[in-house]
C-alpha cells in the first residue's frame, strides 16, 4: 500500500505508539487480536461481499440486508461463534454497520423470553426463536405514543369464554409505529398492550403475537402491516406499522413470569418491576458506547482528511499548508477528539458499574440500581447529543466534500443521530436524571448518605477556583473541581427554584415544568462533571506508558478547558472563576491545540476502524483521497451512460429552438 506522504509523515512523527492506545481501548492486546480476527472473517468472506451501499436504492439495500442476515445466521453456526461479543463484532462487520433483520429478535425477543417467560413458555418458544423458526420484533411505540409507556392505547382484553386475549388497535393513534424490521421482515412479535380483564384495566403487559403465516409470510387475518416509509438514515431497516383488528391469541401467550391471569380472568400483579428496569438500563449503557464510537469514527475521517487536504498559501507563493495546521481547524477537530475519548472512558466506567450492580441485584440489593438508572439516563442523553453535534462539526470541517456521501459523514450522522431520540428522548432522559438528583438533595438534607457518583452534592463547596497561574488551569484536580463546583451550584439552584415555586403555591407538576430550564442545565452540568472526573481518574488509574499518558493528559485538559470556555458564564456567574482565570483557560486551549497537533493522526489510528467499516473515501487509512473519490464517483450508477436518460426531456426543448 502506498500511503499518502503527508499522512505517512504524521505517523512517523508521532510521539507514542498507537497500538498501545488500541489495546487499552479494547482492554487488552488479546482482545484487540480477537476483534481483528473476527472482523477479518466477515470482511474477507466472499459470500458477504457487497456493492457499495451508498449506490443502492432503498429496495436494493433492504434486499441485500435480508440476504446477508440469512447468511450471517448460518455462518455464525458454521464458525461456532457463541460469544455474544464475538457475534456482535461479526454481524456489524458483515453488514458494514447496518442492522441485521434479526437484530431485535436477538437483542430483545430472546432476552425477554429468557427473563419474562415462565418455564413452560420458554420451553415452547425459545427453541423456535433460537432456530429462527419465528423471527420477531418488539412492539411498543405507537403512532401517537412514545416515551410515555403508560399512555399506550393498544388493548389486550381477556375473554374467559375461550381463554383468549383479544388484541385490538382501537384508534388510528394506537397503530404500532417504528418497531424495527416490522414492515416486511418479521413474522412474530412481543407486544406491549393495556391488559383488560373482568372489566378492569391492569396496565401494560407483554404478549407473544404471531404476525404472519409461517408457510407463506402473508399477514394473519386481522393484522395490517407495512413499512413506515423512508427515513433520514437506516434505509435498510423496514421499520414498520401494525394494526390489530380483534386478533385472538391464547391465554398462554401473555409473558407470565411476573404478572399472571388465571383462566377465569383473575389478575395477579408482579412483585417488583425492577427487573424490567434492568434491561432498559443495559440498553442505555450500550448507547453511551455507541455514541463514543460514532464520534470516534467522525474524528478518524476528519482528521485524516485534514492531514491530506492542503489549502490557502500562508505567504504569497508559499506552499499551501495541510488544513490540520490551521488553528481554526484544530479548534473544530481536537475538542471532538477529546470528547470521543472522554465518552469512551465514560462508557467503560458505566459498563463496569453495570456489571457490578447486576451482581448486587442477584444478591438481592437493588439500591444501587437507582443510581445507575439516573446515571445511565443522563449519560445516554449527554453522550448522544455530544456525538450528534460533534459529528456535524467534523463534517462541516471537511468543507464541501463532507457533504458528499463519499465522505461517509451523511450516513454516519444519520445513524448516530438516532441515539438522541431512541430509547428515551433526550430531554425526557435528562429530566429523569434530574428527578433523581433532586430526590438525592432532599435525602441528603434528611441526613442520608448518597451513592459515590453524587456524594459531591453533600460536600462543602469550594467558593473560589484556586488557579493562579496558566499552569494551574492545566491541573487536572483543579479542572475536575471546577466542574464539581458548577454542577453543585446548578443542581442546588435548580432544587431551590423548584422549592420556591412550590412555596409560592404552585402545584408540584407546574413547579416542575416551570423549572425545566434550570433542571436541564443542572443535569447537563452533572453529566459533564461525571465525564470530566472519570476521564481524569482513568488517566490516573489505568496502566500506560509515559508517552501515552502525556498525550491523553493533553486531551483531557483540552476536554475540560474547552467545556469551560463554552460555558464560561456558568463558571463565572457566582464569582467562582474570574475573568482572568477564564482568559488563562482560553489561552491554554490555544497551546493545547499545538501540543496535540503532531499526535492527532496517531490517536485516530488507535481507534482502529478498518476502511470497510469507516466507509469513507476521505478517511481512508492510506490517505489516497482524491484518487478514490474519483474512482467512487465513476461508480455512481448515473454515470453508466455518458448521456443520461433525462436527455429525453432536454432534447425537445433544445431542438425546438435550433
Amino acid at each position: 500500500m502506498t500511503v499518502n506522504p503527508d499522512l505517512q509523515k504524521e505517523r512517523d512523527s508521532a510521539t507514542f505508539e498507537s497500538t498501545e492506545l488500541t489495546f487499552m481501548l479494547d482492554r487488552g492486546a488479546d482482545r484487540t487480536r480477537r476483534r481483528r480476527y473476527i472482523q477479518s472473517l466477515a470482511l474477507q468472506d466472499p459470500d458477504l461481499n457487497e456493492v457499495d451501499h451508498r449506490f443502492l436504492t432503498r429496495d436494493e439495500l433492504y434486499s441485500s440486508i435480508v440476504r446477508r442476515s440469512v447468511i450471517i445466521a448460518r455462518k455464525l453456526k458454521e464458525l461456532n461463534l457463541t460469544d455474544l461479543n464475538d457475534q456482535l463484532i461479526y454481524k456489524g462487520s458483515a453488514l458494514r454497520g447496518e442492522g441485521s433483520i434479526f437484530a431485535i429478535h436477538d437483542l430483545m425477543l430472546i432476552p425477554m423470553l429468557q427473563s419474562q417467560a415462565t418455564e413452560k413458555q420458554r420451553k415452547k418458544w425459545l427453541p423456535m426463536a433460537l432456530n429462527y423458526d419465528i423471527i420477531g420484533t418488539y412492539l411498543q411505540t405507537e403512532l401517537a405514543h412514545g416515551t410515555f409507556v403508560r399512555g399506550l392505547e393498544t388493548t389486550a382484553t381477556y375473554d374467559p369464554a375461550t381463554e383468549e386475549f383479544v388484541i385490538n388497535s382501537p384508534t388510528l393513534t394506537s397503530t404500532k409505529w417504528w418497531p424495527g424490521f416490522l414492515g416486511k421482515s418479521v413474522n412474530f412479535a412481543v407486544l406491549m398492550a393495556q391488559l383488560h380483564s373482568k372489566g378492569k384495566k391492569y396496565g401494560i403487559h407483554s404478549f407473544l403475537v404471531p404476525l404472519r403465516r409461517f408457510d407463506n409470510h402473508q399477514p394473519l387475518p386481522g393484522i395490517t402491516l407495512g413499512d413506515i416509509g423512508p427515513k433520514f438514515g437506516s434505509a435498510g431497516n423496514d421499520n414498520g406499522f401494525c394494526r390489530f383488528d380483534h386478533v385472538r391469541i391464547p391465554r398462554e401467550n401473555m409473558l407470565s413470569k411476573y404478572a399472571k391471569i388465571d383462566s377465569d380472568g383473575t389478575y395477579h400483579p408482579p412483585i417488583s418491576d425492577k427487573i424490567v428496569y434492568g434491561a432498559m438500563v443495559l440498553t442505555r449503557v450500550g448507547m453511551v458506547a455507541m455514541a463514543a464510537g460514532g464520534l470516534a469514527s467522525g474524528c478518524t475521517i476528519a482528521i485524516r482528511y485534514s492531514a491530506v487536504r492542503r489549502q490557502t498559501e500562508l505567504t504569497p507563493g508559499g506552499i499551501e499548508p495541510q488544513i490540520l495546521d490551521y488553528q481554526s481547524q484544530q479548534l473544530k477537530l481536537f475538542p471532538q477528539l477529546a470528547t470521543a475519548l472522554a465518552l469512551k472512558f465514560a462508557a467503560r466506567n458505566i459498563r463496569d458499574r453495570c456489571d457490578q450492580i447486576q451482581d448486587d441485584i442477584k444478591a438481592g440489593n437493588v439500591s444501587t440500581l437507582q443510581e445507575l438508572h439516573g446515571l445511565s439516563s443522563g449519560m445516554k442523553a449527554f453522550s448522544s447529543l455530544a456525538a450528534n453535534n460533534g459529528i456535524e462539526t467534523l463534517r462541516l470541517g471537511c468543507g464541501g466534500h463532507g457533504y458528499s456521501e463519499a465522505s461517509g459523514f451523511p450516513s454516519l450522522y444519520s445513524t448516530v443521530t438516532v441515539l438522541v431520540t431512541a430509547e428515551g428522548e433526550y430531554t425526557v432522559m435528562i429530566l429523569q436524571c434530574a428527578r433523581y438528583l433532586v430526590k438525592c438533595i432532599a435525602k441528603a438534607a434528611g441526613g442520608e448518605i448518597l451513592p459515590t457518583s453524587i456524594a459531591y452534592l453533600t460536600e462543602k463547596p469550594e467558593l473560589k477556583c484556586p488557579a493562579k497561574t496558566p499552569e494551574d488551569v492545566l491541573n487536572l484536580e483543579i479542572l475536575s473541581n471546577a466542574y464539581k463546583h458548577r454542577a453543585y451550584r446548578l443542581v442546588t439552584e435548580a432544587g431551590q427554584q423548584l422549592q420556591s415555586l412550590v412555596k409560592s403555591g404552585k402545584p408540584q407538576h407546574v413547579a416542575w415544568n416551570e423549572s425545566h430550564m434550570y433542571l436541564v442545565q443542572a443535569t447537563e452540568a452533572h453529566c459533564h462533571y461525571y465525564t470530566v472526573m472519570n476521564f481524569v481518574n482513568s488517566i490516573k488509574t489505568l496502566e500506560m506508558s509515559d508517552s501515552l499518558r502525556s498525550v491523553l493528559t493533553s486531551l483531557c485538559q483540552l476536554y475540560a478547558l474547552y467545556g469551560i470556555d463554552q460555558h464560561a458564564g456558568q463558571f463565572a456567574q457566582d464569582g467562582y472563576m474570574t475573568g482572568q482565570q477564564l482568559s488563562m483557560a482560553t489561552s491554554q486551549i490555544a497551546s493545547l491545540l499545538t501540543t496535540i497537533r503532531p499526535n492527532a493522526v496517531n490517536v485516530v489510528d488507535a481507534f482502529d476502524y478498518p476502511d470497510e467499516l469507516l466507509k469513507s473515501e476521505l478517511g481512508r487509512y492510506d490517505g489516497n483521497v482524491y484518487e478514490n473519490m474519483y474512482k467512487w464517483a465513476k461508480d455512481s450508477p448515473l454515470n453508466k451512460t455518458e448521456v443520461h436518460d433525462s436527455y429525453k426531456y432536454l432534447k425537445p426543448m433544445l431542438q425546438s429552438k435550433m
Partner: protein
C-alpha cells in the same frame, strides 16, 4: 382541522395575516405571491412526486422533467421580469429537489452579464434565455475550494490559432461539485489560470462548450459525469469535469475586466471593488434562505408540538400538548426568534445596500467594504445558527422527526449546504476579522471609521446599566456593542502579542484564529441584534400595535437568549454582573410563557403552504396522524404484502430450519 391547533389560532393575540404582510414587505406583495402559488399548485402539469420515495436516478429524472415544464409555463404565462421568473421557479420547485437548473439561472447567466463584454452578452444571452445553451459555473476543483488562487486548471493562449487551450493538468485539478454539470449543461464558464506569452496572469472566466448540441455526447477532450450521491439534493446532479487540451476561440474569455489581445498581450483589469456588489446581493439572498429554512423547521416543530400530547402530569390527568413543556419551548422559541431576526437582518442589509448604491453613484465607495464584510459575516452567522436550529427542531419532534414524513431530514440536508457553499463559514469569519483588525488599528491611530464599524472607536462603557427586566430592551444594543468591541480589541491584542513575541505575520494570524473568529461572530451578532431592535421599534414598518408587541417579545427573547448562551463573553471584563445574568435567565422563562399562546400564529405568519413545507408533521390543519398513515402506505416497500426478498432469502432459510426439526 385538528381541534388543538384550531384553539391555538383562536387564542392568539394578533392576526397572523398582518405579520405576513410585514414579512413580505407589504400586502400587495403577499397577494402577488399567493396568486402565483395558486396558479402553480393548481396546475396539473406542475405537480411533483414526493422525492423521498424516489431513487436518485428517478429523482434526477423527475426534477429535470419538472424544470423543463417550469420554463414552458414561464413562457406560457408570459412572465417577463427576472424577479418574477425567479419567484415562479422558487414556488414551482417547492424550494426543493425539484429544481434542477438553478446554476444556469443564478450563476451562469449572471456571470455573463457581470463579466462579459457587451458583444459577448449580445451573443450569449439570447441563446441562454431560450435555453439553447444550458450552462454551469465551474470553479471548485477536487483539491481546491475556498482558495481560488490555488486553482490548477489552465487556459493557455495560442497566438498561432488565436485560441485558448483549456487543460486539467492533474487529478486534483478536475472541476468538482458544479451544479447541473454532470448531464444537463452543454456549456460552462470555466475558471482557469490564464497563461499567455509564458506568464501566468491569475484566474479568469472562459466559456467552454461541453456537449454536442446534436446528440449531447461530451465533446472530444471533455470528460464529464456525476460525483455521486450526497446528503440531500439528489434531484440536482453535481458533476466533475476533466479537460484534455480543449481549444476555444479567444472571444470565449469573458473580457469585461481583464483582456487578452490578438497577439497575446494581457491587459489588467481596473478596480474590482464594484464586482463586490453582486456578491453582497448573493449573500443577502443566502441570509434570507437561511431565515426561511429555519422558519420552515420552526413551522413544522411548533405545529406538531401543538398537536402532539405526551405524559400525564398528574396521575390520570390528560396528557398535555408538548408545546406546554418549558423544555420544549426552550428548544423552539429561541430558534423562532432567530428566524425572525434573520428575516429582518437580511431586509436591513438590503436597504443599506440600496442606500450605498446611491452613494456609489456619487462616487463615494467608502461604505462598500464594510457592507461587503457584514454580508459575509451574516451569511456565515445565519447559516450556522440555522444549521443548529433546524436540528434542534427536528430532534424536538422525537422519533417522528427522523422520518422523511416530517420533511425535516430533507430540509436539513438541503439547508446545511449553506454552511459550506460560497465560502466555508470559517473562511468568511476570518475575512470579517481581517477587516475588523484593520478598523481596530485605524481607530487606534485616530482615524474615523465607517458607520457600520464606528462603534469600535467609541470609549468603552464600564457597566451594563440594566437593573430590572424592563430595562433590557433599551440596553440590548449597547450590551452587544460592548461585547463586540471588547472582542475586537482582544483579537487585535492577541495578534499584536504574537507579533511582539517575534512571530511572522501569518503565524501570528494563525495563532489568533480563535480570538479572531470570536470577534467576527460578536460583530455580526451585534449587527443582527441592532437590526432586530431597530425594526421592531420603527413605528411605520409594523402595524398594528399588537403585532408590534408580539415582535418585541420575540426580539427580547432573542436578546436575552444570546446573552444567556454567551454569558462568559459579557461577564469576562465585569461588564455584566452575575446578578444581571441571573436576571436575564429569569426573564427567559417569563418570555417563553408569554410567547407560548402566540407560537402557532407566529409560524403561520411565515405563510408556508403545505405544498412548500412538504411535511406531514407540520401540515396546516394539524391532522398529523391520519396523514402519516396515508403517507407511509405509499412507501415503495409496501407495493406487495410480501416483499420479494422473502421468496429469495427468508423462505429457503425458514424451510431448511423446519426440515431440521
Amino acid at each position: 382541522m385538528n381541534p388543538d391547533i384550531q384553539k391555538e389560532r383562536e387564542r392568539a393575540t394578533f392576526t397572523a395575516e398582518q405579520l405576513t404582510y410585514v414579512l413580505d414587505g407589504g400586502r400587495h406583495k403577499t397577494k402577488k405571491r399567493r396568486l402565483m402559488e395558486k396558479i402553480i399548485f393548481h396546475d396539473p402539469d406542475l405537480q411533483c412526486p414526493d422525492h423521498s420515495f424516489l431513487s436518485k436516478n428517478e429523482s434526477f429524472n423527475a426534477a429535470t422533467k419538472h424544470s423543463i415544464m417550469m420554463e414552458k409555463k414561464i413562457q406560457k404565462h408570459k412572465i417577463k421580469s427576472d424577479e418574477d421568473k425567479a419567484m415562479f421557479r422558487m414556488i414551482a420547485s417547492r424550494r426543493k429537489d425539484t429544481i434542477s437548473l438553478p446554476v444556469h439561472h443564478l450563476m451562469f447567466r449572471p456571470t455573463i452579464v457581470g463579466q462579459g463584454t457587451e458583444e459577448q452578452q449580445r451573443k450569449w444571452l439570447p441563446l441562454i434565455d431560450n435555453m439553447t445553451v444550458i450552462g454551469t459555473y465551474a470553479q471548485t476543483e477536487l483539491g481546491h475550494g475556498t482558495f481560488i488562487r490555488g486553482l490548477e486548471t489552465t487556459a493557455t493562449f495560442d497566438p498561432k490559432t488565436d485560441e485558448f487551450v483549456l487543460h486539467s493538468p492533474t487529478l486534483t485539478s478536475m472541476k468538482w461539485w458544479p451544479g447541473n454539470l454532470a448531464f444537463q449543461s452543454n456549456h460552462a464558464i470555466v475558471i482557469a489560470q490564464l497563461y499567455t506569452k509564458g506568464q501566468c496572469h491569475g484566474i479568469q472566466p472562459f466559456m467552454v462548450q461541453l456537449r454536442s448540441l446534436e446528440d449531447y455526447r461530451p465533446l472530444p477532450g471533455v470528460t464529464v459525469g456525476d460525483i455521486g450521491p450526497k446528503m440531500a439534493n439528489n434531484g440536482y446532479c453535481n458533476g466533475f469535469l476533466k479537460l484534455d487540451n480543449v481549444r476555444i476561440p479567444r472571444e470565449n474569455m469573458l473580457m469585461k475586466y481583464a483582456k487578452v489581445e490578438r497577439d497575446g498581450t494581457y491587459i489588467k483589469p481596473q478596480s474590482m471593488k464594484l464586482a463586490y456588489g453582486s456578491m453582497v446581493l448573493l449573500r443577502v439572498a443566502f441570509t434570507k434562505t437561511a431565515a426561511e429554512a429555519l422558519a420552515s423547521a420552526c413551522t413544522i416543530a411548533v405545529r406538531y408540538s401543538a398537536v402532539r400530547r405526551q405524559t400525564e402530569q398528574t396521575p390520570g390527568g390528560v396528557e398535555p400538548q408538548i408545546l406546554d413543556y418549558q423544555s420544549q419551548q426552550y428548544k423552539l422559541f429561541p430558534a423562532l426568534a432567530a428566524a425572525y431576526a434573520f428575516y429582518f437582518a437580511s431586509e436591513s442589509l438590503n436597504n443599506i445596500y440600496q442606500q450605498i448604491q446611491q452613494e456609489i453613484k456619487t462616487g463615494n465607495i467608502a461604505s462598500m467594504t464594510p457592507l461587503h464584510v457584514i454580508s459575509s459575516g451574516l451569511k456565515a452567522f445565519s447559516s450556522d445558527v440555522m444549521n443548529c436550529g433546524i436540528e434542534t427542531c427536528r430532534l424536538s419532534c422525537g422519533g417522528h422527526g427522523y422520518s422523511h414524513a416530517s420533511g425535516l431530514p430533507g430540509l436539513y440536508g438541503r439547508a446545511t449546504a449553506l454552511c459550506t457553499v460560497e465560502g466555508v463559514n470559517t473562511v468568511l469569519y476570518l475575512q470579517v476579522a481581517g477587516y475588523l483588525m484593520k478598523c481596530a488599528s485605524m481607530a487606534a491611530s485616530g482615524q474615523t471609521l465607517p458607520d457600520l464599524v464606528a462603534y469600535i472607536s467609541k470609549p468603552p462603557e464600564q457597566q451594563w446599566s440594566v437593573r430590572n427586566g424592563t430595562d433590557i430592551m433599551n440596553q440590548a444594543v449597547s450590551a452587544y456593542e460592548h461585547r463586540a468591541q471588547r472582542l475586537v480589541v482582544a483579537a487585535a491584542q492577541s495578534l499584536q502579542g504574537e507579533m511582539t513575541a517575534g512571530k511572522a505575520q501569518h503565524e501570528a494570524w494563525n495563532n489568533s484564529h480563535i480570538a479572531l473568529i470570536k470577534a467576527a461572530k460578536a460583530h455580526t451578532h451585534y449587527f443582527v441584534v441592532k437590526c432586530f431592535v431597530n425594526f421592531v421599534r420603527s413605528k411605520d414598518l409594523i402595524t398594528p400595535d399588537n403585532v408590534k408587541s408580539v415582535l418585541e417579545t420575540l426580539c427580547k427573547l432573542y436578546v436575552c437568549y444570546g446573552i444567556h448562551e454567551n454569558a462568559g463573553d459579557f461577564m469576562q471584563d465585569g461588564y455584566i454582573s452575575g446578578e444581571q445574568i441571573a436576571l436575564v435567565t429569569n426573564q427567559i422563562s417569563g418570555l417563553l410563557a408569554t410567547i407560548r399562546p402566540n407560537a402557532v400564529a407566529l409560524v403561520d405568519a411565515f405563510d408556508f403552504k403545505d405544498e412548500i413545507l412538504g411535511s406531514v408533521l407540520g401540515c396546516y390543519d394539524g391532522n398529523v396522524y391520519q396523514k402519516m398513515y396515508e403517507w407511509a402506505k405509499q412507501s415503495p416497500l409496501n407495493k406487495d404484502e410480501v416483499h420479494e426478498s422473502y421468496y429469495k432469502y427468508l423462505k429457503p432459510m425458514l424451510q431448511a430450519n423446519k426440515s431440521k426439526l
